[in-house]
């Protein structure tokens, strides 16, 4: 398996370094601005007047930790709910011979394309007494057909022989789902779970529309109001409005920079289906 590195490998590394630089430059600009106490319009390599005041003012905001907890809670619960819905749906959608499968599939697909619009959706949520509860921001994004179909695609990759042997062993549909399908789909679960987590973490629209109680605001809502609030220049410990805004942007990216490396092992190791297959 191990071979000597070829010119191709070196070329690849060079290309990736270039790509990384292109990807980094705009983010680097935000990072530098978040550490610079001098309002700057142009691009620079280093902060002119270095200071952490931007971060300090984001984190000392007295009402920030609660929204942070709300974000963590909804992201965790939401991702689990979302994955449950996506995997259940996906599993049923690969039952090609099940009567009504096509109907179900089309019902799902249809939701991706048509929407009732903002006001009708709001009125339904109000009637169901879901407005101003965390339920609405957790449950509503959980049904995501895009993720469900991708998940189904992964499930298809599981060899038939596994299902066969499980069935012969007397496993129920739920048993097969729990004992075979899920354990074999770690890469897919990670990828789609990550997609769910990101959409929950970055969610702003659902809060804006359905939550008016500011005890239930999430981190993104709060960050926006930090950004909006700093539209009027409040110099906090020497930070300019610009510094605060950029610091807020970096803070919002941070959690996933930390989580991502842990997810990566599932992509790289992969799931060695062949090893299980007899």
């Amino acid at each position: 398996m191990k071979k000597k590195a070829t010119a191709f490998d070196y070329a690849l590394v060079v290309i990736f370094i270039l790509i990384s630089i292109i990807m980094i430059v705009p983010i680097y600009k935000v990072l530098i601005d978040s550490l610079d106490l001098k309002t700057a319009y142009g691009m620079k390599l280093f902060p002119e007047r270095f200071g952490m005041a931007g971060y300090v003012s984001v984190f000392t905001n007295p009402t920030l930790y609660k929204p942070f907890l709300v974000s963590c809670l909804t992201t965790v619960v939401g991702t689990i709910t979302g994955l449950t819905i996506a995997t259940l749906g996906a599993y049923v959608l690969i039952q090609w011979k099940m009567p009504g499968r096509t109907l179900f599939a089309n019902l799902m697909l249809f939701t991706m394309i048509f929407s009732g619009g903002m006001i009708p959706t709001y009125l339904v949520m109000k009637t169901l007494h879901l407005t101003n509860t965390l339920l609405v921001v957790i449950l509503m994004p959980a049904i995501n057909v895009y993720n469900m179909v991708l998940m189904r695609n992964f499930f298809e990759g599981i060899p038939d022989s596994l299902f066969e042997s499980a069935e012969i062993d007397g496993c129920s549909p739920m048993g097969i789902f729990l004992k075979i399908v899920l354990p074999l789909s770690k890469a897919a679960l990670t990828a789609i779970g990550l997609m769910y987590a990101v959409s929950y973490w970055n969610d702003y629209t659902h809060y804006k529309l359905y939550i008016t109680n500011d005890n239930l605001y999430n981190f993104q809502m709060k960050l926006r109001s930090v950004i909006m609030g700093s539209d009027l220049p409040h110099a906090i410990g020497g930070a300019t409005e610009n510094t605060v805004k950029n610091a807020a942007v970096i803070v919002a990216i941070l959690p996933f920079m930390i989580i991502y490396p842990f997810c990566q092992k599932y992509f790289i190791q992969g799931v060695n289906i062949g090893a299980v297959k007899e």
Binding site: S57, P62, I119, L209, S225, G229
Partner: protein
Amino acid sequence: MRVKKMLAAGMAMTMAASMVLSGCSSGSKTSGSAANAESSTATGETAGKNDIKKPEKITIMVNGTVTTKPNNREAFEKKWEALTGIDLEIIQPDHDAYFDVLGQTFASGPENWPDLIILNGSYYTGYAEEGALWDMTDAWNNSELKASGRVTGEEVIDNTKINGKLFGFPVARRGGCLTYVKKAWLDRCELKAPETYDEYLNMLKAFTEGDPDGNGINGDTYGVSAAGFVGQGDPSSNYLPEFYQDAKPNFEKGEDGLWYDGFTKDNFKGALTRLRDAYAAGYIDKETLTNGTKDCRNKFYEDKFGVFTYWAGTWASNLKNNLEANGKDGELVPLKPIKEIGAYEEGTAPVWAITSSCENPEGVFKYFIETMLDGGDTQLLWSYGVEDVHWSKKAETILDNTYAEGQFHTKESLEQPGTQYTKQHLDPMLSIVKWDEDPGKDTVKEEAKVSQELFNKNCRQASIIPSTDVMATYNGDLTTLKNSIVADVVVQGISIEEAYARFEKEGGAEWSKKIVDSLNEQESAK
């Protein structure tokens, strides 16, 4: 079995759906007792102002301009209730979601409407046209506030009337933008503050081609910058008034009382030519199209340009402070409007409007709106907040400022630590009533006061444009087309003839005429 269950679930869903469709909702009105009280007195003979019943409870829906929760809204609410003896319920959606939530609340049926709301611009005219607002013309005319003679901004109130009727009350002026010039730049170019367009242009030329920032390089600066060539949405945010002068891209009412579209007038073509020539000469920031207001401010702080049209008042100090924080000379000269402009334009103020579902609107007007400008404790509350929460007279040191016992000062902001409050809902500098006892008179920064006073002396009211169905139909497309044409002429240098040919060809002229007709029709119908 399962099928049955599914059917049952389906039934439940359908029923829920039909509930939504029929708009059934279990909301109940809050100020019901006040209505009962009113009906019991309805048998009495007069409806004079002394008979106005005090409401027991008032529900308001407000944006972030009223004291927010992080700023201890609770203390504000308690103090207000103590002062008036009325139960107050405040619904305050997140700042930029205000109009979404308001729209949804209105759509969910009159039984859910609050008593009072804050509206501005097309929301005010639109809600009024839809009949959602109570006509407060009589309430205002018979009010003690009007009779008191303390009102200094009656023209602001008159200007808020739609076809002669008042549907919302502007508790303060809107304020507006005036042109600031960097004093140091003027000095270095040995110029005085311009008074005519020629002098103004001459100044821009000097700022663009010379070395006004004194860094030894000629031509690395430019004259003026703005966020877009046409103010977005709000007619008061015209950031390039010297070029537009008397021309307007929007609908206006002429001296003859008839409406017209400013875009189709010859003076607008003149404005376009001035903008195009100045842009080609490099006097106007090349990136004006893509600038946000924040970009402009940052460039101003960086000494990229020297002339900036921006809000009068508090912003005068903000601009100065930020320039100084960046190590630049912060002294700014607020310009008197040049001869060709005559007067800066003041936008239509946001209003407090009483909804048509309010059961005791007279009471709400008297006990909520009028008290806000009572020149006493309630006005103090709306202007500066609650004692020892938002302001204080105790001897103490706030941030770097030390105050003696009895000296009025604002406290450190709860939401934005490190800064001091300036005002709460009402800005005393924009007040429409005389308020001699204003305790904060002396706390206002000099440059803010100077610029605001200059503006107040040299402004005229923008006319309020009523909304019509035809306008709702065509004005969105028309605005897009107009803005696109302005950008074509100024940035790409298209000739005026070509530009107006496009306006004709793409239907702009036709839409414009239809809207003007509908406005005039509405006017003559009243």
